[in-house]
């Protein structure tokens, strides 16, 4: 499509190589991987090859530790509900944070409501980072799971995953991390970081939508959330989405190549965009940390005195795609729970815009955006009763 796409944290374009890899699994190799005939075995082998690619991408030692799911949301639900149900006789306490994706937050709330679980929600500082001391103080005898995202999807704050992993391992508590935003963006290593369960989603790293995976360290028991034909080592029943899994494997392979170089490229573009906005537009505020603690492609800025949806609409008229933490764009009355948890007042949360960079973006795109953005902001400010410039 024509236009400028700065919404890679929402979803990414599928790379042509991925589409090409998927194609034959619709039309030629369409067998059911559970079937004994050659049609089925061809598909089964393709799934195993994809499993290996994904294991490699996240540093898992054994491919069978990868369970394919219908996306990041399902992986989060399987991890959290699956562990909770398997551990309920050991304890009914879970530790998470206030800034998780709703897939994690609502899964935890489900356990509070339906299975009498107790959930502690760790706070974050003004940059969106948790405090390890607070985590340690939250530990209890009956804590069975720590679930903390690797990096936040809105403000890009990268959490101290390795330190969390160490605390969890030392205390014999399972550690799950929603790594949907980090896999394919920065190096992820489940062994080094002592991660027991990890969620990922293909459409965030140039793979297809509706497919993801849960890494489950060997030997850990979970209760499956889907009853049926016992696919995926009995942990996720249902005929595998073979083309999508093949696409995810190909996307993992491509993501793994030159990961450091890509990380450096998008970090540089990110810092360039932040710098130009801060220089060329007055009264702005960066949401989230600077430098190494920020996801490579994430820029999240509050434009004071104006509201996010009206900025998005103006950008959209120029065919520029971004997203906002404003309530007006979400259909709810409250703005982003992440920005509120970081202590941003409501009016600043309403005025936040996220530009997320990725595959295909270049410095030229930033030049084009910055040609129009200052004028859009000024026009809206002139209309705002909060602004007297």
């Amino acid at each position: 499509m024509e236009g400028l796409y700065f919404d890679h944290a929402a979803t990414t374009p599928v790379r042509p190589e991925v589409v090409e890899a998927m194609q034959p699994y619709f039309t030629d190799f369409y067998g059911n991987p559970s079937s004994v005939h050659a049609f089925g075995q061809k598909a089964a082998r393709a799934i195993e090859a994809a499993r290996e690619e994904i294991a490699r991408l996240i540093g898992a030692e054994r491919p069978e530790e990868i369970i394919f799911t219908g996306g990041g949301t399902e992986a989060d639900n399987l991890a959290i509900k699956g562990i909770a149900m398997a551990q309920k006789d050991k304890g009914k306490h879970i530790i998470t944070t206030t800034i998780e994706h709703h897939a994690v937050l609502h899964a935890c709330q489900f356990l509070e409501r339906h299975l009498d679980y107790d959930v502690s929600y760790l706070s974050v500082n003004e940059d969106g980072l948790i405090d390890l001391q607070e985590l340690k103080s939250a530990l209890r005898e009956d804590t069975v799971l720590i679930t903390i995202m690797s990096a936040n999807n809105e403000v890009g704050a990268i959490q101290p995953v390795r330190e969390i992993g160490e605390i969890a391992r030392k205390n014999n508590i399972y550690f799950h991390t929603d790594a949907v935003q980090t896999v394919g963006q920065i190096d992820v290593d489940v062994v080094q970081d002592k991660i027991d369960l990890l969620s990922l989603s293909a459409h965030k790293f140039n793979g297809p939508k509706g497919v993801g995976a849960l890494y489950l360290k060997k030997g850990i028991k979970i209760v499956p959330q889907m009853s049926g034909g016992a696919q995926e080592g009995r942990k996720r029943s249902g005929t595998e989405n073979v083309p999508a899994i093949v696409g995810m494997g190909e996307a993992a392979k491509l993501a793994n190549a030159n990961l450091e170089k890509k990380q450096a490229k998008y970090s540089r573009l990110r810092d360039l965009l932040i710098e130009r906005i801060e220089k060329e537009i007055p009264d702005v505020l960066l949401n989230g940390p600077r430098g190494d603690k920020r996801l490579p492609g994430n820029v999240n800025i509050t434009f004071r005195y104006i509201e996010g949806e009206s900025i998005l609409l103006n950008l959209d008229m120029l065919n520029i795609a971004a997203s906002t933490g404003s309530a007006c764009a979400s259909g709810s009355l409250d703005p982003s729970h992440v920005l509120l948890a970081m202590g941003r007042p409501h009016e600043l949360a309403h005025g936040s815009i996220r530009f997320s960079l990725g595959y295909g973006n270049s410095e030229e795109d930033i030049d084009k955006l910055m040609k129009d953005l200052p004028e859009i902001i000024q026009r809206l400010r002139n209309m705002s009763p909060l602004y007297d410039g």
Partner: protein, 127 residues
């Protein structure tokens, strides 16, 4: 998501700004909820709305309904302006998404707020 009419009023809002000689000002909403609409009215001795301006902090629907309200009541008597309902404003805009209907409330509330204040002032002067 939005109708063409809404986008037209959002892109080219009518009567934006303030009125130096306004004799009625209405304001509703607050920064917490994400919408603030401020209306400035110049009402003449015959209770006719001679001029009207608005400033709005809010989403596309908030801006468009503000703009539409100013257009619908300009030149009208205040009694008639008070009968303007949020449904009529939404209808004039070719409809609003269901989640945005509360925005159309704000603009008509700001109008009622302004007229109420104007009447209070006028009565105070009489007595």
């Amino acid at each position: 998501m939005y109708s063409e009419k809404v986008m037209d009023h959002f892109q080219n809002p009518r009567n934006v700004g303030e009125l130096e000689d306004a004799n009625a000002v209405g304001e509703v909403g607050n920064p917490t909820c994400g919408d603030i609409i401020k209306l400035y009215l110049k009402i003449d001795d015959d209770d006719m709305i001679k001029d009207i301006r608005f400033r709005t902090f809010g989403c596309g629907a908030a801006v468009a309904t503000s703009s539409m309200v100013t257009e619908l009541v300009k030149g009208k008597k205040i009694d008639e302006a008070l009968t303007l309902s949020r449904d009529k404003v939404a209808e004039a805009l070719g409809g609003l998404p269901a989640t945005k209907m509360h925005c159309s409330n704000l603009a008509t509330e700001a109008l009622q707020d302004a007229i109420e204040e104007y009447r209070k002032d006028k009565n105070a002067k009489k007595n």
